[in-house]
Chain length 360, copies 3
Amino acid sequence: MEASYQHLIDLNDYPVSWWNQIVALGADIKEHPQRYTHACVGKVMATLFYEPSTRTQMSFQAAMIRLGGSIIGFDNPATSSVSKGESLKDTTKIVSNYADILIIRHPMAGAAKAAALTTDCPVINAGDGGHLHPTQTLTDLLTLRVEKGRLDGLTVGLCGDLLNGRTVHSLCKALSCYKNNHFVLISTPELRLPFYVKDIIKANGGTFTEVSSLDQVIGSLDVLYMTRIQQERFTSEEAYLAQKDTYVLDAKKMSRARPDMIVLHPLPRVDEITVEVDQDPRAMYFKQAHYGMYVRMALIMTMLENQNPSRLLKGKVHKGVCCKNPSCITQQEHYLPKSFRGEGTTLECEYCDERLLLEH
Amino acid sequence: MEASYQHLIDLNDYPVSWWNQIVALGADIKEHPQRYTHACVGKVMATLFYEPSTRTQMSFQAAMIRLGGSIIGFDNPATSSVSKGESLKDTTKIVSNYADILIIRHPMAGAAKAAALTTDCPVINAGDGGHLHPTQTLTDLLTLRVEKGRLDGLTVGLCGDLLNGRTVHSLCKALSCYKNNHFVLISTPELRLPFYVKDIIKANGGTFTEVSSLDQVIGSLDVLYMTRIQQERFTSEEAYLAQKDTYVLDAKKMSRARPDMIVLHPLPRVDEITVEVDQDPRAMYFKQAHYGMYVRMALIMTMLENQNPSRLLKGKVHKGVCCKNPSCITQQEHYLPKSFRGEGTTLECEYCDERLLLEH
Amino acid sequence: MEASYQHLIDLNDYPVSWWNQIVALGADIKEHPQRYTHACVGKVMATLFYEPSTRTQMSFQAAMIRLGGSIIGFDNPATSSVSKGESLKDTTKIVSNYADILIIRHPMAGAAKAAALTTDCPVINAGDGGHLHPTQTLTDLLTLRVEKGRLDGLTVGLCGDLLNGRTVHSLCKALSCYKNNHFVLISTPELRLPFYVKDIIKANGGTFTEVSSLDQVIGSLDVLYMTRIQQERFTSEEAYLAQKDTYVLDAKKMSRARPDMIVLHPLPRVDEITVEVDQDPRAMYFKQAHYGMYVRMALIMTMLENQNPSRLLKGKVHKGVCCKNPSCITQQEHYLPKSFRGEGTTLECEYCDERLLLEH
């Protein structure tokens, strides 16, 4: 389905050259913000947050304001018309006539794509459940570009819950598209990176090693990307108590890191980085959040220029076939065309990207 | 009581010529939006939503922004000072000193008028319970004006719950003020239009017929205005199951309609119009929502010019007489002057318009 | 700890000359608002309201908008990232990179100061629990300056719950810094002004008398500052019923007041001032709320000029010593340096100002 507008639903809908263009524009805005203060004058952005995410929402709002545009939106579906049973389609269609661009956050996979099928303006996916969060990945790329000066030839440690971390999967997929990046995957055996992500790294020409101790490898890293391991992910309370400190970054561990290593974190952090590390000049996670605003400015500008209408659905509807993923937006919004990529007995839902095995 | 500002509380406070002026201005803004982008620069609009209505609120906000103005407000009384027991008067009085115009939505009848008695700026009624919602009616008029080219000589079908639908009553009263309009009232016998609305239609020179099947009459209509019948309005589950499809608009029914008939709906819709109808070019309900923004732009501009201070209370206080309507704002805000229109034993509350029979 | 930005945490961090400067600027803005409509163009203010206070928030928002700036923020911590367990430090640090100035409201004492320790922009304290609310006091000073023409030589009646009223304590402390002010403290014996506030009045050269009847003294006042006595503050239901009318201002009591006496109230009021008084030209509480917007405009402008970086922590950390006040922000945010003023066995927490007696 050919849309009339350019959307950002999934980073993989765009080539690496486009990512570079967004990152380069973000870096220029960061250097020369005053050149962009009128870039979106007269434009209205609506932030439709079907689940709260204060920081992401404020980041988008500040971005639009700093481009000279204005904002409307909601952040509390319980007090909105949504609670009266209105469909995602109707709400987003209507608001797309009030606004020039929609920012959508939703707890279900594929929601932003589903909305983009019928809106009358561009859509940016600000997170669709555990599925995609492309502006976080672009934020990470801009931070590396500015703070390390390059996106290739990096040794990147990823520490924490690598099994469930959407942010980590997306970053691995993206960074492995650049040359000579090596990933050091630091987690418990149970929380290792999924095989399909490792397959993508290999297919893109990247390399990786897997270890279970941060201390052991921190000295070799250019970048350390921390994420949280929730206590309930450990196999037992004993396992948690025995291992938790292994995955907490503190001043002592930092003392073994290179002087030019940088520490990233998608935030919010809880206790996986101790507060003392905040004062270390290598701690880059607050700056990273700041860069998120610049990359969103670059995206909003680019989407509003609308030069490349997005192709949203490329597969086809198979009679009687429905996605079985309970978190897929097609489970809730029944009017959506149930479109799948692929042929034969393995199909892939075009909303949530889950595979479906057909029995014949 | 002569106010110092011009308010929009009830469409009937203004002559038809004024409605036409607002509709004409709305149509001009729609055609030439760029001419109005600075019309309200430096002005501040406050949206005080004592009950949530995301779409109405966003429509007003987008309207003000597209006129160059700014917005403040709240949409969640549970997290506002309102929950500390502050009176409607105090909250609206104070905010009217921060803002240049107030948009008030409230669950009780007469709340916008009550606020307008003491505010220091114009008030627009954005819905006061089941009582009035004048900007919806103006939206409907603008839609007809643009999409049908006229407001007279129309055959208008109204389908669904005609007994309880505030929107439908208001539209009938307004459209019957134009010449040669004929209303086709489509509902179950239990959900027919109230007698007092039929009386107004007749008094204004309009005509109507009552039927119970949409299919039977759809071919004769210029306009079909759909509303929802909630399941609990039917007399029994059997009645619901037997009749519900009669009041659902689908592609099959549309196939019998004229090529230039248009379909309106105040939204949100639930399932009274099937999704397939959305793609029919005669489906005008999303455009209608869009026109709502233009008519609100016209209203905000007109109210801010403030050329005709509104007369709010025209009746008088009768010693010891109180309105008995439990949804009337005078039940909650005890400081309000209990003013009534009329004489003798039949009085009409000036806030909620309910009649009160006095016993002598 | 020397901050890089100028903050307003506590009025007492500034000399009286600075208060006068803010009040004078507020008065000038009130007289010539059009001169200031571009003062903050391109600047972004974030309102971080960890507890709801609709009126204070809208007052700040209107202030920033009327200076040409823009606003982001949240008002409902339950639907924000805050509910995911993020620290005050992390949230405010990150938002301080999106915005140019933060307005913080928080239920715990010392929260605004705690945030200011690490933010990358100025912070204004919009109320930290029962502790400080400096913009209310500046509002009161501006109102007196404009409506009485002076801040000295005034006989000021303070009526209601003087024991627990943060606003009253703060106003007494501030006004006693000006010459020849006399305070008439009107309350039940149980709800008298605390000794430490009386000590400050005396130390500053002010005088006061204590009475239990408003009627008895109202004729002698230049200013009457009303506050609410909550029913539960009375010793018994009988005491409440016997005394409550004594502390309610009505038209009859107003008839005994001077023609140029003015009535102030920090709002919201419940029933301690009857609605009939609103029409008395001496009732100044709605104007007072309006002046609050002007004084906040003056503050935002002054803080953004950032000419005098604030010194936040002046005392020192004593090994093992923690503040015992359960409402102190240090009880919740454990990473904060537990800094105290003073020496020997009496220390004063630098966040909540509570005294701590050390046992040796």
